[in-house]
């Protein structure tokens, strides 16, 4: 039944506007988890990429096992493993937010590491040789010559993975995190207005992701390869 304003009934906008403050609270949680997880995931990815490229067999293997373990299992299984599985061992007690951040970070880290590895390998070997021939150490060459160039090339793929990870955070509602999706669920069942609520939730996700893409293309333009 469409509920165009008859007396005593909510207009469609009323349903949405009364839900929005709670949805925005959820959005805050989503963004908070996303930002922390994506930074941790990126640092982890960088470390694992360097492990993968290091001339040390054991580090290569650690990186390969990690990336394959994450790529080869569903996100939900990773989440349940960390939240329920690890907590069941009783040597640590992770609250749901911590477990959620860790899962998103570890998941994104595996994909980031592959992006970063490919980015580093795409830089011409002559760049390293030129840097090393000037007396720079291996890590100085990596830091000042290879990584800055590699990051520019990686930026579109990094943006893509970040967007995927942001969307993955919606699965954290399953372990009870009060993120945007969870708030949507609460509102939808409280109001019986599933269509309007989920449409609103979708629009909010869309706007955030649109803003991330816009920011990324701005950064890309600023750092355009010369």
């Amino acid at each position: 039944m469409p509920s165009f304003s008859k007396k005593g009934e909510d207009t469609p906008m009323d349903v949405i506007s009364s839900a929005i403050p709670l949805l925005l609270k959820g959005l805050e949680v989503t963004i908070y988890i996303f930002i922390i997880a994506i930074i941790l995931g990126f640092l982890l990815g960088l470390l694992v990429a360097l492990f993968r490229l290091a001339p040390i067999k054991i580090l290569n293997w650690i990186a390969i096992v990690y990336v394959n373990a994450i790529r080869g299992t569903p996100f939900i299984v990773q989440l349940f493993f960390i939240y329920f599985g690890i907590n069941s061992l009783h040597f640590v007690s992770l609250n749901s937010t911590t477990a959620g951040i860790i899962t998103v970070a570890i998941n994104a880290g595996a994909y980031f590491s592959e992006i970063i590895r490919a980015g580093i390998q795409s830089i011409d070997k002559g760049q390293t040789e030129a840097a090393r021939s000037l007396g720079l150490t291996g890590s100085q060459a990596m830091r000042h010559v290879i990584l800055p160039q590699a990051f520019r090339r990686m930026l579109p793929t990094i943006t893509n993975q970040s967007i995927i990870s942001l969307k993955d955070t919606s699965l954290l509602s399953i372990i009870g995190i009060a993120d945007l999706t969870q708030q949507g669920q609460i509102q939808a069942s409280a109001t019986f207005e599933a269509f309007k609520i989920w449409l609103t939730v979708g629009v909010i996700y869309f706007i955030i992701i649109y803003l991330i893409s816009a920011l990324a293309s701005f950064v890309e333009r600023r750092f355009e390869l010369r």
Binding site: D124, Q127, S133, L134, L136, Q149, L225
Partner: protein, 245 residues
């Protein structure tokens, strides 16, 4: 004084032996030109002199440091040995000035203002002062190579290695680069130049080394080597390349 000494140098890539038994000495302020057909091992030989290639056997001593010894700090030795590449290998994300100042600032922790002043002097020397704030992508090949030379000189090296520095250039750009190199030779820089520019080898080289099949076949003064080659392989190589001039 001997500044580069190479004894029984061997280099293999997998099962392919590229350098078989190289013996050579370079005195301070000498300009050595290395010529030979492609695949003769001349670039590999050059790249062994700053250990861009791992050395499979024998001994390379640079300025008193045996760089085949793993205890020797290769980064330290490389500061004394500038290198110029066929493909320039400028850092595309840095301006010309930053390309030149990067190594002195990061490796020697030199002061910024001082390093930039020195970089501008070097750019003057290669005739590119006005390009200091350009990016490599905005330069012609010849300009890139002159910046690469300035970049290598910024570390005040005792030795300069040139790996076919003009082979990737348009013909009309070659002259400018060779001129800078000639000037450098005149100032007393020790240089080892792998080149196809026989004119340069003749005019600027103190000695010319002819390599073929992983060996040094013949070495002599340019006049002798070009005028009176002793080996058949040298003769046949020279007849092929000199015919084109």
């Amino acid at each position: 004084m001997i500044i580069i000494s190479v004894k029984n140098l061997k280099k293999s890539f997998g099962s392919v032996e590229v350098l078989k038994d190289i013996n050579a000495e370079v005195k301070e302020k000498e300009v050595i030109c290395v010529i030979g057909p492609s695949g003769s091992g001349k670039s590999t030989f050059l790249r062994c002199l700053n250990r861009l290639e791992d050395i499979s056997g024998g001994e390379v001593v640079i300025n008193g440091n045996n760089i085949t010894d793993p205890k020797v700090n290769i980064n330290k030795v490389r500061q004394e040995v500038g290198m110029v590449f066929q493909q320039f290998n400028l850092f595309p994300h840095k301006t010309v000035l930053e390309n030149i100042t990067l190594a002195p600032m990061k490796v020697r922790s030199a002061e910024k203002a001082e390093t930039e002043k020195r970089a501008m002097e070097l750019l003057d020397k290669v005739g590119l002062r006005e390009k200091a704030n350009s990016y490599p992508g905005e330069l012609s090949g010849g300009q890139k190579q002159r910046v690469a030379i300035a970049r290598a000189l910024a570390m005040n090296p005792k030795i300069m290695l040139f790996d076919e520095p003009t082979s990737a250039l348009d013909p009309e750009m070659v002259g400018d680069v060779l001129e800078v190199m000639q000037q450098l030779a005149k100032e007393g820089m020790t240089m080892v130049v792998v080149t196809h520019e026989m004119g340069f080898a003749k005019e600027v080289g103190d000695r010319v080394i002819f390599m073929d099949g992983g060996y040094i076949v013949e070495e002599n003064t340019p006049d002798e080597l070009f005028g009176n080659p002793q080996h058949n392989r040298t003769k046949s190589f020279l007849s092929k390349v000199l015919n084109h001039i």
